[in-house]
Each structure stands twice: as structure tokens, then as C-alpha cells.
Amino acid sequence: MTRWHLTAVLSVLGLATNCGPKGAGPKGPEAKAYGAALVEVSGGKQVAAIGTTLDQPLVVQVNDAQGGAVAGAAVSFRAGGGATVIPPEGLTGNDGQLTVSVALGGVAGRYQVTAITRDKAGKTIEWRTEEIALGYQQNLGRQLNDRYCSRCHDPESTAERVSNHDNLNAKPHAFTDGAFLNNVSDADLTSIITHGGAALNKSPEMPPYGGTLGKADIEALMAYIRAVADPPYRLKGLVYASN
């Protein structure tokens, strides 16, 4: 009996020592410098279809306590839920920046990407962003948004599309405006899209799309609006009584 126990304990120890260096040891390049803060340069809060690589790379910068860029600082990335960051770690360049690309996971939702660096004392500094993955229905909604809605609802102009947002008396809500849109129920949102703003005593500048978009289209559009809301939209669940 005792012999068996001893063997078991030894083998467990052996496993532990075998795994030890692999799990906990330092990986990636050795840091040549240390910063005091991590800031985003670009690439946070992007929207893309599930499984795809984001259009824009994610760029982060390591700064020292005075806000100056630190070259040669080691930054590693963590992404949850099947998203991958390529490369997962690296040293900042001469401008203090590190550029990585992010591929989203196969399930629709929000993916947290965390960048980690260490200061001189070895304390970890983290910075976090969210990237949004769209499933089939939400992606369809996105296409419809680009075609029908974004001309007025997106206040930003692009080279190919001049925004009509500022020409309207009642300023349309951007679809990312979760603070407002999250409080509009599915039924109300459907009504506004189907019957126009006038149906809910809102501005008639929002025309009715019920004759142009089908039921499935409108559902897709709603799924997209809910998916990109910031702060995120949460299902209300059943509300039995409210005071």
C-alpha cells in the first residue's frame, strides 16, 4: 500500500515539475525597457463578421510616467472566447507602439482583448478593449444599415458617403448610442422602422421602411443595432412587476 502511494505522489510531483517551466516561465521576447502606462492608438471597438480578421490592426503604445513613448517594452495580448491575436506578444517599436492583428472567434458577441505590460517594479499594467463579432443575421443587418440607414444615422462622413446627419432637424441616434437605444423596446424599434418616426410621435424625417424592407430584414437590422450598442444591450428578461 505505502509503495503504491509513494509512486503516485512521485509521479504527480514529476508531472508538476515537468509542466512547471512550460506554464509559468517567461515567454516571448525579453523586455529591453519598461513603461508606466498602456494606451490605445487605434483598432479598439471594431465590428466584423465572426471568424474574420479585423479590418484595422490593433495598435497600442507604452508610455513612461511622463507620457513619453517607450521603445522596447514587452507587451503581451490575451483574447477570450476563441479570438486570436497575431502575434500574441512583442516589443514596442521606436515610436513606442506595437501593432497586432485580431481574428475574432466563431461565435457572435463581444471579444475582450487585453494588452499587458510590466513596469520596472514588475507590476502588471493592463489595458482592455472590446471587439464585436457579428453573426449571420447581424451581418445582414449591417449590410442593410450601410445601404439604408447610415446615410443619416452615422454622423461621420467617409470619402464615398457624405453624412446627411447634420441636415436634419431631429438628429438621428447613432446605432452605437446604447444609452438611448437600449431603453427602446424591440416592439417600439420595430414600429419606428416599419411605420416611420411619425408613428411614435417622433420626427417624420424618419421615413417608414415597412414597404421596402421585409420582416426578416427588419429583424436583422434590429439584431445589428443591439449588437453594436455601447454600452452593450442586455436582454431584459421577464419583468413581472415594476414599481
Binding site: 492583428s101 449571420y136 443575421q137 445582414l140 439604408y148 421596402t212
Partner: protein, 683 residues
């Protein structure tokens, strides 16, 4: 000794007498019989089912979920599709939308899609081994079963098995198919979608039969060495030619070139032309609707129908440019470039402007000696070997048939038949992506050239190829959604010739043929008034202020504009309504006032259109200040009733207007025009 005694004792204990032996054998038999139920009990899928039952026990709707749960092995069998799926054995909650918040697999419900899971099963879209009952075998490729689950980034490929048309919900697949045609993939590779004709290239590579007239051997050499150095947006791939090979091919191309009939090019003095004026001819002619130029910031400004013009002055010979601008079809009979009918002055200015777009670095290091016979012969051999004639027309070389492997079922290629390059994961999508990204990694003898593609384009191309499966070939024809057919519509007569000349179809579609850059003109004859069309053709003004690409001015003569106007008004009439059914004279001032109120209040048209240039600001749709002089009343009325009926795909929402509202609005809109006296005074 010791051991032997122990064995003997054990034997005596188990089989010492007949009763003991019988008992022992019975126990062994029971144990043997227990193996099967025990194995069944410890199956992977039954563990998942137990875990699912534990999961739903905590939920509010546990009773309903439990009632709908079906224990045991589940199977979807769709013989006509060749689908045998047991996926729902573990993925038990596919249809339980109330579990939307569950994030652990395999218990997530399926997200919303336009198809029923019962009708199509799982492997149609996800691939993998539907009949397998273990996680490993169902999802990954094993020795016996080599079809793994399709990674999420290529999902749209599955839609493409049935849908040969371009769906709103599959942007990646649509892009992939467009790129297969645009980058000339299908010039070398045959690609047929099931039940359809071979995919045709859309890139229109220039013929090289008269290339020596167009450009120099030095430019050809530099271009062959690195097409992207000349034009960042070039679709021509890099063939990774050695200096000697590029030298010999350029020698051959110049040698095979024949003269073509160039009209007497008494070229105007372009060198002295004013750059400012040249730029304004370029602008007025809206060259940028089709051609791009890289600006100082490195951004491309302009369309991608024609080639990029950033360094055009370093490429073309001045006498060729003059002829080309005058008569493009003389050099390239199938070009999309319109004949502009420029005046001699305009020609000189434009040619001068374009010739000044040079890049001194491009040809700085190119020094070629006169070509020898051997070099020319070697060049010809190389041209044959590299399949140049698959895309370009050449003298003395025929377009090769099936130059590269057929890609019609590229998405079903057996892994066993693929030679993987080192470092490439052993899956079909990874192989396709790696091959497109860098063909030379698969061996230097490979003929496929190096393309300059972004990661998004590579993903799209892989998606397009993965849609070409054997399953797609075997699908019942009723399930197939055919692609939009490209119709061979050719207007006849004088007007037809004019339309060919101006390349109307490069931008406008008529009767199913043509581009989508500008409005569909199939029913244009019912839409517009004669006087307006005549003026517009002679001098197109801007209809939509927010648009960057616009209709160019073709410098038509009065007679040409007349011919075209007559043809459009006669031939392009819609059968949906009678053009004379509504007369502007029947509108009263009351109608107009009611229309005005509807325009500004009920329908808030001013949010997208401008009627009063002082106060209205909307610029999503066309400006309507002159609509009364442009549109016909009948068209306006019917368009208001249903914008998509007359212009399919139009983004103007269908407001389900009543006849009375539409009539009042028409009355208001038809009054939107300059008073004739005012117009006369202006002239």
C-alpha cells in the same frame, strides 16, 4: 516456486470443482455481457446529454425544456441532399431560443438564419462528419474521415453552394466571386458553378498586338519585373521573372507587335499646354469616375473601372495617347473607354496633362541592349510557358485551353491529393489561402504568379473557392438559386452605335446588361421630358450633390443628341403605365399647396431632397429644384407610389402613399422649375 504455488492455489479456488467452475464462468459471462451497456453508458454524447439535463434544471423554463429534450442518439437524414447528421445528439439545444445566454458548447442554441435546421441539417453549411458520434471525429479530420468542420471565417462559402446570385447577407462570398473574375483567376483556371456556364473574367486585360505603338520596351521590362511599382492598384500579378527572362519577354512583345491604323496624328503642342487647364479638362470629363490617381498622401482618388493613371506619362507614347483619346476602339476594340469627341484644343490639354504624370525613378535603372534573335525566341517560349495569352491577345500565339487546373470543385479537394508546403496546417482552407498568398512556397516550378492581395481579399477568394463543392454539384436543381444572367443586349441603329461609342453600359444598365455605377435606364423613356434629356445629354449637370462619380460630358453634336433622345424616349418605355395618363395641366394651385404641405410635413421629403435651395439641406437623393422640367407627371406619380417598381433596388423607401397624396405631391413637384421667362433672360 512461490509463484507456481500461488497460481495453483488460485486455480483450485476458481475451478477446484464443477460448482466453482460453473460459478466462475457465469461471472465471466455476466462481465462480458455488461461490456456493451457499460460502454454505451460511458459514451461521450451521453455525458453531454447528462450535463445538459443538469444545466436546464436550474432554469425558469426547466419543465418545458425537459419535455422537449429527446434522449439517445439523434439523427437528421435528408437523402436527397446526402445529409446524415448526428450533431444534434450533443448539440441538443439547437432550437431552444430561451437558452440564448448560455455560452458553453455544445448547449448554445443556433443563431437566427433564414433556413430551417430540419430541412438542411448541419453539414450542408458547417461541413464536418455528420455521421460521427465523437467530438474528435465529427469536428476534426482523421485518417478515415477527412472533412473537418468549416472555420467560421469561411461560413459564407456554404451559402454559395446553392446561391449563385449575390446575396445581401454574404458580402465576403460576393467579393470572392467578384475577385475571381476581376483578378483574371478564371482566365487560366476553368470554373463552373453547378448548372451554370463557365465564369468569365471581367478584368479586360489589354490586347498586346500593337503594344510597341503604345509603350517602350523599357517600360514593359519594368512592368514585368514589378507591376505594382508602376501602379499600386494593378491587377497584373508578379511572375517573379529573372532580369534575363523579363528582357527576353519584352523583346518578344515588341517584336510580335504590328502597326495599327493610326489616324494622322497632327498632335497639338501639348508640351506648352497649361497644366491648370489640362487638369480642368480631366475634371470636367470626369475621368476620375473610372480612373484613379494616387494623391500626395498615398490615397487612391477615383474609380477602378479603368487603369490607374498616377504614372501614365512614363508609360505611353505621346502619339499613341493622342490617338487613344480620340478613338480608343482603334487600339483596343473591346475597351470600356468611351469616345469623348474632344476638340483639338481639349485633346492637346488633356494629353499634355497626362504626359506630365511621370515618375523619373521608374525607368531610371532600365538599360536594354538591342534584342537578339535568340532572345526573341526565348521570350516567345517563356510567353507560352507562362500562359500570357490566357489573358492578353498576342500575334501568333493562341489562347491556351485549360492552362491551369479546373477549379469547379476546388472546395471538395481531397486532402490526400494535396501536397502541403511546409508550415501550412493540413486543412483545405489553409491550403487554399497559403497557395493564393504565396504560390512559390509550393515549389519553384509552379506557374502560378504572385498576386498582391490584402488579407481580406485572400479570405474572400478562399470563400469563393470553398463554395465550389461536389455537394453543390449534386444538389437538386430546385434548390439552386441561379445567378443574375448577363444579358447580351445590343441596341441597334444609329443610337446603338452612339451608345457603343460612349460606352453607356460601362456605368448604366439597360435591359439587364451594364454596370451599376449609374441609374438603370431600362424605363428612362417614361421617366424624363424630351427637352430635359436633350439638354442633359449635351451638358450633364449634377443631379446628386453627394456623389463623387458623375456623368461625363461627351461633347455630342446636336444631331447626335437628337438621335439618342429620340431612341431613348421611344424604346425605353415601361409597360407599367401610360406615359400620357397624367397631365400637368390638370393640377390646380390647391393640389400644389397640399403637395407642398405633404412634402414638408407628412413625408418630410426635405430630409433627403432639396426643393428650395435656400432652406432645404437634404442630400441623400437627387436635388429636385428642376424636377418639373425633368420628370414626366405619370412617372413621378407612379414612382412616388412604389419607387422599387420602376427602379429595382432603389433606396427610396416605399411609403405606401395613397393615390390622392401621390397626386398632390406630383402637382407640387411638377411646379418645381425655373419660370421660362427667367430662363430666357439668363440666356
Amino acid at each position: 516456486m512461490d509463484l507456481r504455488r500461488k497460481v495453483a492455489a488460485a486455480w483450485a479456488f476458481l475451478f477446484g470443482d464443477s460448482a466453482r467452475a460453473f460459478g466462475t464462468l457465469s461471472l465471466v459471462l455476466v462481465a462480458c455481457l455488461a461490456v456493451v451497456p457499460a460502454k454505451d453508458h460511458f459514451r461521450e454524447w451521453s455525458r453531454y446529454q447528462t450535463r445538459y439535463l443538469r444545466l436546464i434544471r436550474q432554469r425558469g423554463d426547466a419543465a418545458t425544456l425537459q419535455r422537449r429534450f429527446q434522449p439517445g442518439l439523434q439523427q437528421t437524414w435528408l437523402p436527397e441532399l446526402g445529409v446524415v447528421d448526428r450533431c444534434t445528439t450533443c448539440h441538443v439545444a439547437m432550437k431552444e431560443t430561451s437558452l440564448a445566454d448560455v455560452s458553453t458548447q455544445p448547449f448554445r442554441p443556433h443563431p437566427a438564419i433564414p433556413h430551417s435546421l430540419n430541412e438542411f441539417g448541419c453539414v450542408m453549411c458547417h461541413r464536418g462528419q455528420g455521421a460521427a458520434t465523437t467530438v474528435e471525429e465529427a469536428h476534426s479530420s482523421t485518417k478515415a474521415w477527412e472533412q473537418p468542420v468549416l472555420p467560421a471565417r469561411y461560413f459564407e462559402a456554404s451559402c454559395g453552394q446553392c446561391h449563385q446570385n449575390s446575396l445581401t447577407g454574404t458580402p465576403q462570398l460576393n467579393l470572392g466571386r467578384k475577385l475571381l473574375a476581376r483578378y483574371g483567376c478564371v482566365s487560366c483556371h476553368a470554373l463552373r458553378t453547378a448548372g451554370a456556364a463557365r465564369m468569365m473574367p471581367t478584368n479586360e486585360p489589354p490586347p498586346l498586338t500593337h503594344v510597341a505603338r503604345k509603350t517602350t520596351r523599357e517600360w514593359i521590362y519594368a512592368w514585368l519585373k514589378n507591376p505594382q511599382a508602376y501602379s499600386v492598384s494593378a491587377t497584373m500579378p508578379d511572375f517573379k521573372l529573372s532580369d534575363a527572362d523579363a528582357r527576353d519577354i519584352s523583346a518578344f512583345l515588341i517584336d510580335q507587335s504590328t502597326p495599327y491604323q493610326q489616324p494622322d496624328a497632327s498632335k497639338s503642342s501639348s508640351a506648352a499646354a497649361d497644366a491648370q487647364e489640362g487638369a480642368s479638362v480631366y475634371g470636367e470629363s470626369f475621368c476620375a469616375s473610372c480612373h484613379a490617381v494616387q494623391n500626395a498622401a498615398g490615397l487612391m482618388v477615383g474609380g477602378d473601372v479603368g487603369p490607374e493613371l498616377t504614372r501614365i506619362g512614363s508609360k505611353v507614347k505621346p502619339e499613341w495617347l493622342g490617338t487613344w483619346l480620340r478613338e480608343p476602339k482603334l487600339y483596343a476594340p473591346h475597351t470600356a473607354m468611351p469616345r469623348y469627341r474632344f476638340s483639338e484644343k481639349q485633346l492637346g490639354l488633356l494629353a499634355g496633362f497626362l504626359e506630365a504624370k511621370t515618375d523619373s525613378d521608374l525607368l531610371a535603372n532600365v538599360h536594354l541592349d538591342a534584342a537578339t534573335k535568340e532572345q526573341i525566341a526565348h521570350g516567345k517560349a517563356l510567353v507560352n510557358e507562362r500562359g500570357c495569352a490566357s489573358c492578353h491577345e498576342l500575334n501568333g500565339i493562341k489562347k491556351p485551353d485549360n492552362f491551369a487546373p479546373d477549379l469547379s470543385v476546388a472546395g471538395s479537394r481531397s486532402l490526400a491529393k494535396i501536397v502541403f508546403a511546409p508550415g501550412v496546417p493540413h486543412t483545405l482552407p489553409d491550403y487554399l489561402a497559403a497557395k493564393i498568398r504565396q504560390p512559390s512556397a509550393f515549389g519553384s516550378a509552379l506557374k502560378m504568379p504572385q498576386y498582391n492581395l490584402t488579407p481580406v481579399q485572400v479570405d474572400a477568394l478562399v470563400t469563393g473557392l470553398l463554395a465550389q463543392t461536389e455537394r453543390a454539384e449534386a444538389i437538386p436543381a430546385v434548390l439552386r438559386v441561379a445567378g443574375t444572367p448577363v444579358l447580351k443586349y445590343d441596341p441597334a441603329g444609329k443610337a446603338g452605335k452612339l451608345m457603343q461609342d460612349m460606352q453607356c453600359f460601362s456605368c448604366h444598365a439597360i435591359n439587364g446588361r451594364g454596370g451599376d455605377m449609374a441609374p438603370d435606364l431600362t424605363w428612362e423613356g417614361s421617366a424624363v421630358q424630351r427637352a430635359w434629356l436633350l439638354t442633359f445629354l449635351k451638358n450633364p449637370n449634377t443631379l446628386r450633390p453627394a456623389l463623387i462619380r458623375r456623368m461625363p460630358r461627351f461633347n455630342l453634336t446636336d444631331a447626335e443628341a437628337q438621335t439618342l433622345t429620340d431612341y431613348i424616349l421611344t424604346a425605353y418605355q415601361t409597360p407599367a403605365f401610360d406615359a400620357d395618363s397624367l397631365d400637368s395641366a390638370s393640377f390646380t394651385a390647391e393640389d400644389r399647396e397640399r403637395g407642398r404641405q405633404l412634402f414638408y410635413s407628412k413625408y418630410a421629403c426635405q430630409s433627403c431632397h432639396i426643393v428650395d435651395a435656400q432652406n432645404d439641406k437634404g442630400y441623400v437623393g437627387p436635388t429636385l429644384t428642376e424636377i418639373g422640367a425633368k420628370g414626366t407627371p405619370a412617372w413621378t406619380f407612379h414612382y412616388l407610389k412604389n419607387p422599387q417598381l420602376l427602379r429595382p433596388g432603389n433606396i427610396e423607401p416605399n411609403q405606401s402613399m395613397s393615390d390622392a397624396d401621390a397626386r398632390a405631391l406630383t402637382a407640387f413637384l411638377m411646379a418645381q422649375k425655373k419660370a421660362p421667362a427667367q430662363e430666357a433672360a439668363k440666356k
